[in-house]
Symmetry: C2
Subunit: 157 residues, 2 copies
Amino acid sequence: MTPMRRPLIAAATLTLALVSATSSYAADVDKAIEYRQDALGVIGWQIGPLGDMAQGKIDYDAEEFARRAENLAAAAPLPWEGFIESSLRGDGHGIDTAALADIADDWADFESRQQALIEETATLAELAQGDDVTAMRRQVAAVADTCKGCHDNYKAE
Amino acid sequence: MTPMRRPLIAAATLTLALVSATSSYAADVDKAIEYRQDALGVIGWQIGPLGDMAQGKIDYDAEEFARRAENLAAAAPLPWEGFIESSLRGDGHGIDTAALADIADDWADFESRQQALIEETATLAELAQGDDVTAMRRQVAAVADTCKGCHDNYKAE
């Protein structure tokens, strides 16, 4: 039995422990939300120029394209651990977030969308090592579609 | 000669172009600052449990340690492109940031510190594939030292 699991004798001690546990949990939720927003921000930053190159808004630069595609694939698995219990809109977390409680209601779908992003970005990073620019462009669109699909379903306006 | 470099004839057009260029540049600076803070936030999140495991505050979990070490190594090269011109404290960017203008004054040192973090985290990710927990712990300390060194020199209190 760990010290944390010993029955607490004094009611005052119990109350204090509960208050302390609650505020620490709230802090964890806030940190998790901030973390996932950070990680999604990194993804947004990295995909920006890839989208611009794919759409011809800026010139294609093979080196930059490959570097950003690699960064994007590295960042794709990161945000999801931040979607913890009580950190969703309408889920009683008490702070502002665009992430809807539908995520918790359909976690299997949310996870399959995470996996799709991880796979599509890995494919993009692989293509970026070659020279088939048409395929790269198409793959940027595939990645953007996975972003959009998740936002459409799980992100508040 | 690109269109952007053609002399502008009408003064009104010139003024408009300057205003437009300035506000878009300010937006770029704000976005770059936000991006680097996002990327550094990801690094902080990933290193947290590694530090806790290294210091025995939480139990060592080989799988989690290896996953976070890999995430950390993947994130280590990311923040630095956000340290753009006019985005430092005392550098006329006009928004709040803890990044000191000393970064621009000693860019070579700042770059060598970035490189140190990239290398130390790569070493940690490699060690995390093995089973020498003492070496892993020591390497977490080495990584934390590179963070601290940069913060001590280039981050406002």
